[in-house]
């Protein structure tokens, strides 16, 4: 019987997931199984997707869930359809918020990524000789998304630990997760605190931080007065590094879609075909990439 494996992601339009899929496809080609890629933006679509996989005779699937609290439901659905399952990126939790340790998972904790961002900012501030009290921080927030909250909180914890004052951190809530929304929200913060000349920015992803950096440009703050560090490291960020002159977008914490896509798919295949149980928990790490190091970092992570 042919091996068929599903790979369900929460936001198929996001480059990150495109990459995960791409690397999973690579695994499928190498191992000779069929990969069924499905986008499921919410809980209901996810449940249908699992049913759908069951109906087309898949044996297992990998999922990045739209919400970690869906845990028990996903597990039950998978069992009902007799499918093996693993999670990627985001780890499932139960009703009480405890991780479902029985489900094999590969990912990186949102808080950890955020901390990496915070550390990057702090290091850059030191390199530039900035004093925390003269710097404003733009927290581009999208609190509707739990992961987003965890990430920015991670960054903030590092900033505070390094002497950043809480009252110098200004929330810029984006109405949507695109760059324009972040730009508009950040502009308001900048204009409300016109006295501050040095800014740092962090947020959910590269797009959010890019919006903040664009905002600093539009109000005329020079690039050397801005430190923005994003998360993701896909094309939006790379484009920024490729610009002829450096911008306030100093770096991005790259996580490797290759490991997440390729390895999870391979592991699932081994599980299905050779009954080889995957590791219960694999944590990958993010790496900070900057204008001068991004190519190297990408190579190390196996992306290019």
């Amino acid at each position: 019987q042919d091996t068929k494996i599903g790979f369900i992601v929460k936001q198929p339009e996001e480059p990150w997931f495109q990459d995960e899929w791409k690397f999973a496809d690579q695994a499928a080609k190498e191992k000779g199984f069929t990969l069924v890629k499905i986008g499921a933006e919410d809980g209901e679509k996810l449940m249908s997707a699992i049913d759908n996989l069951g109906a087309q005779g898949a044996q297992g699937f990998i999922v990045c869930t739209p919400d970690v609290k869906l845990g028990p439901g996903i597990v039950a659905k998978a069992a009902a359809n007799n499918l093996k399952m693993m999670t990627v990126d985001d780890r499932l939790v139960d009703a009480a918020g405890k991780p479902l340790e029985d489900v094999p998972h590969m990912g990186i904790s949102a808080t950890k990524i955020g901390e990496a961002v915070g550390q990057g900012i702090v290091d850059e501030m030191k390199a530039r000789g900035w004093k925390p009290e003269e710097v404003g921080a733009i927290r581009v927030s999208y609190d509707q998304l739990p992961t987003a909250v965890d990430r920015v909180e991670g960054a903030i914890s590092v900033l505070k630990a390094n002497g950043f004052k809480a009252e110098n951190i200004f929330p810029a809530p984006q109405a949507k997760t695109d760059t324009e929304a972040a730009l508009n929200a950040a502009t308001v913060v900048l204009n409300a605190h016109a006295g501050i000349k040095k800014w740092v920015a962090f947020g959910l992803n590269d797009e959010a931080v890019l919006g903040a950096v664009r905002a600093t440009e539009s109000v005329g703050i020079p690039a050397d007065g801005v430190i923005g560090i994003g998360i993701g490291g896909a094309d939006s960020a790379i484009n920024e590094f490729k610009k002829p002159t450096a911008t306030g977008f100093v770096g991005t914490v790259i996580i490797s879609p290759k490991r997440h896509g390729y390895e999870t798919a391979t592991n699932m295949y081994e599980w299905v075909a050779n009954d080889k149980q995957p590791e219960k928990l694999t944590l990958t790490s993010g790496a900070l990439a900057k204008r001068d190091t991004f190519q190297q970092v990408r190579k190390e992570l196996g992306i290019e």
């Binding site: 339009e13 069924v36 249908s48 919400d67 869906l70 028990p72 039950a76």
Partner: protein, 316 residues
């Protein structure tokens, strides 16, 4: 084509026929489509849209519009989970959700009917407000269900068919009956067909509209409860964009946005077409970006076919 056949094909139930033909073709061409498992999965996947479409049909038929259904379903789902977690009683949870849903709908209806505010704007506003409430009440995070009995709402089966599907079928029957056989249904169609005439004929237009919205809210709550049970948690971000799916399903099913025209059979077909499209695209492993295009084309094709049909039959 003989005249007789033409009449059936082009008549009021024509879209049903078109649907049957399309279904047969899909069943023959797409592997795994006509399996029992897939059929059940398909049916379950249309439960939310189908349930809400029942009352959206009334709303549109009365020339109104409701964008708040997605938020309401999410909010009421949360309410059901929170209330049953706190009280320990699933029934109380369900009751609270139904009440909250009906209340949101009532507010919509009241504002629209009494203050004569555009339905689009009103429900766009409540859509945001209710979503805000859902987020605030849960601090933006999903809330897990404590009592596993709650899952049974969605998991239990009767004669091999999941409860939500039975509920959907029941609602289709009920609202089909209400539309065609009751004073409320006729009044709804009359209001949509000619609000002025209805008012002058003594139809209580305001009351009917308020009722429609209140019902809509309550039905959203049913959808929200089942959804929460299905995804085993109350999620403040659930059902985003539901309004567009539901309205499309209705319009696809021949409900006129200009009011006054609606059939339950049409709406059912509309709901099914949308569900089958998604199902088949995933069965056929169509890449995500191309799914957008296919979805758009199916939508266009379906209304075009229906239009061709009805314009060939009755001009104007």
């Amino acid at each position: 084509m003989t005249n007789h056949l033409k009449k059936i094909l082009l008549g009021d139930q024509g879209i049903v026929l078109i649907f049957i033909v399309a279904f047969t073709i899909v069943a023959l061409l797409v592997p795994n489509f006509l399996t029992e498992r897939n059929m059940l999965g398909l049916l379950q996947s249309v439960v939310t849209v189908g349930i809400v479409a029942c009352t959206m049909m009334f709303c549109l038929a009365a020339r109104d519009f409701d964008l708040s259904v997605g938020s309401t379903a999410a909010f009421t789902g949360m309410v059901a989970v929170m209330a049953s977690n706190t009280t320990g009683s699933i029934l109380v949870g369900i009751g609270a959700a139904l009440l909250c849903g009906a209340f949101v709908g009532f507010v919509n209806g009241f504002v629209i009917a009494k203050f004569r505010i555009n339905a689009l704007i009103t429900t766009l506003a409540t859509m945001q407000i209710v979503r805000g409430l859902a987020l605030i009440s849960s601090d933006g995070r999903a809330i897990g269900i404590n009592d596993p009995g709650f899952y049974q709402l969605a998991l239990s089966k009767l004669f091999g068919i999941p409860t939500p599907v039975w509920i959907l079928a029941g609602l289709f029957l009920i609202f089909g009956f209400v539309l065609n056989r009751t004073v409320f249904g006729k009044n709804t169609l009359a209001i949509g067909g000619n609000p002025e005439a209805s008012r002058l004929a003594g139809v209580n237009v305001d009351k009917t509209r308020i009722w429609i919205f209140a019902l809509q809210g309550m039905v959203c709550a049913i959808a929200g409860i089942l959804l929460a049970s299905r995804i085993t948690s109350g999620q403040p971000n659930a059902a985003v964009g539901l309004e567009l799916s539901v309205i499309s399903a209705c319009v696809l099913g021949g409900v006129s946005l200009a009011g006054g025209r609606a059939t339950m059979a049409g709406v059912i077909v509309g709901v099914m077409i949308m569900g089958i499209a998604e199902n088949v695209m995933n069965l056929m492993n169509i890449p995500a970006f191309y799914q957008y295009i296919v979805r758009g084309l199916i939508l266009l094709l379906a209304v075009m076919l229906d239009n061709l049909r009805s314009s060939a039959f009755i001009r104007r």
